[in-house]
Symmetry: C2
Subunit: 331 residues, 2 copies
């Protein structure tokens, strides 16, 4: 079956699509109510976030837009120290899209949501004119998480002496999407993953995490500039400590890309109290997606520039945030 404008009418076809595809994939007692809003248990402090996903191709080495749309929003909640609870999803579907594509995407969303322990409680569907020959899907997810009373994880909490820890190697998602678009043959897989395990292990062990960000669009360089702007500090990185796989390094060498500017979808960077850094590193290395975790630098009182890289031969270079296009539509 192909999606038609009638599936976006709000009438019988919309109801059928919701019942056959979305409700079937995301079944739970809250969305089963089918009211204008889902009624769910709350908490005294909440984390709230949203992200839209416009990646093309919809299916790529290592993942798909469905998995990405759940991981992206779950990770944004985790980065604030919240326990992710509820997702909403808004589907913008191009007329002519095969419903089998939609079913595959929703199955992937449901599987990832179950892994992350979140419920998809509300949704919306719109249909727009065809813009691509094989149709297309844009997904917005918004997320609600519960925040512990005593947690304040924010770039404003970073202090001099904090260590900067990166949870794994840079660039896989960006390189996988670019390879898929260019038809390049390589074994690079997107790193798309939900980060529930490593974050809950760090916080559960009482590690003093001052700030966290998942390393997506804009790359590590852009995040460290945001950290610097919010904290008023300078970040000094050690180039040799920044993990990049051989495959991604070769890929970047050929195309002239900088892994510091590349998007990832299953990596995060944390500013952690200096005295906790070694323990945090040890804990991260024991997780499924943290074996390449590394202490890549530290926060210092503000110097002339916000982000500095120490090179392996003893020099220093200034790191800028991403300027210009990067790679559009990677997430």
């Amino acid at each position: 079956m192909r999606i038609t404008m009638a599936h976006g009418s709000g009438g019988q076809e919309t109801e059928q699509l919701i019942r056959d595809v979305f409700a079937a994939a995301f079944d739970n007692r809250f969305q089963r109510e089918m009211e204008d809003a889902a009624a769910v248990p709350g908490a005294q402090r909440l984390a709230v976030t949203t992200d839209s996903f416009v990646v093309r191709p919809l299916f790529f080495p290592g993942g798909d837009i469905g998995k990405l749309s759940v991981c992206g929003t779950v990770n944004d909640l985790l980065m604030r120290g919240a326990v992710p609870q509820y997702l909403t999803c808004g589907f913008i579907i191009e007329e002519g899209t095969e419903s089998a594509i939609l079913e595959s995407v929703t199955a992937s969303m449901a599987e990832t949501a179950a892994e992350a322990g979140v419920l998809i409680v509300a949704g919306d569907t719109k249909v727009v004119e065809r813009a691509h020959e094989d149709g297309g899907i844009i997904i917005n997810t918004a997320g609600v998480g519960f925040l512990r009373e005593d947690t304040e994880i924010s770039a404003s909490q970073i202090v001099p002496g904090d260590k900067v820890i990166l949870s794994g190697s840079l660039g896989e998602h960006h390189a996988a999407i670019l390879s898929a678009r260019m038809g390049m043959q390589n074994a690079i897989l997107s790193d798309v993953a939900q980060l529930t395990e490593p974050v809950s292990i760090l916080l559960g062990a009482g590690i003093h995490v001052h700030a966290m960000r998942d390393v997506t669009r804009g790359g590590l360089a852009t995040i460290l500039h945001e950290f610097a702007a919010r904290s008023g500090l300078t970040f000094v990185l050690s180039e040799k400590e920044i993990p990049v796989s051989d495959m991604v390094r070769d890929f970047c060498g050929i195309l002239g890309l900088d892994p510091l500017m590349m998007g990832n979808e299953g990596k995060f960077v944390a500013a952690i109290a200096g005295e906790d850094a070694e323990e945090a590193l040890h804990l991260l290395k024991g997780t499924a997606c943290g074996k390449d975790a590394s202490i890549i630098g530290e926060a210092r009182p503000r110097e002339d520039v916000p982000v500095i890289m120490e090179t392996p031969i003893g020099g220093e270079r200034v790191i800028s945030p991403l300027v210009g296009e990067g790679l559009p539509r990677i997430c």
Copy 2:
């Protein structure tokens, strides 16, 4: 300035766009943190919802996509008996869109959010290829509201004897959008409005509201079919009690449209305990958007068909839900 792909990169241009347009329009202490998720006060029970807005044209008689995107989600929360609190917004912007359009839309969102007493606490921006000559914007809003402990407003709560009250006349939004697209000269304005006032007056007065829905895509006919399916009851309407303005009635007559199938953006239908119906009607008629409110029918034990209309000449006709396209992209 025109939006470019670089505004969706996640780097410096994205940050400028967020700062100059979104943060400037939606300023509040929660979004000012600029973290991956906003940390906000919570409550023991929450209502959660989402809606995407793909209307074209972006500006139409009586409103624009910005006002619509706030009203739609605020209204969905209100329909569950919740007090709307927080919105997230995801912008999907076509490359080439004038930033002045975006500024006008965000100003409209900010004004409407302030009227409704909600804070826009988190956002996201993506840029996609141009699909329309003058660019385009799609907006997703998700909403979180606080639910009273003792409130359970849901179609499953409707009982025989409940009266069906409609808050105003049907079809204005649908007719306004269609007129704008067809270049028709008339004075019909979209009814787009947030329904905080009438809903809080009803609930504040202790009226026993069993179910509410805002009458959007799919129209009144589709909602009554949903009410019937969820409650297991039959709804009997009186045609002469259903308010339709002369302008909309003439418009529908010319084009062969049925006001029962048309979308509105500032009207709701409620199933209210029979003994409270007259008081509810009186209260609604005293509100800014409720002067044409009317008791249009009642819920009865299940009969042969789910929705029946009594005609002014004493006959009966069966009402079907919307089937087919209706009018695409009206919200």
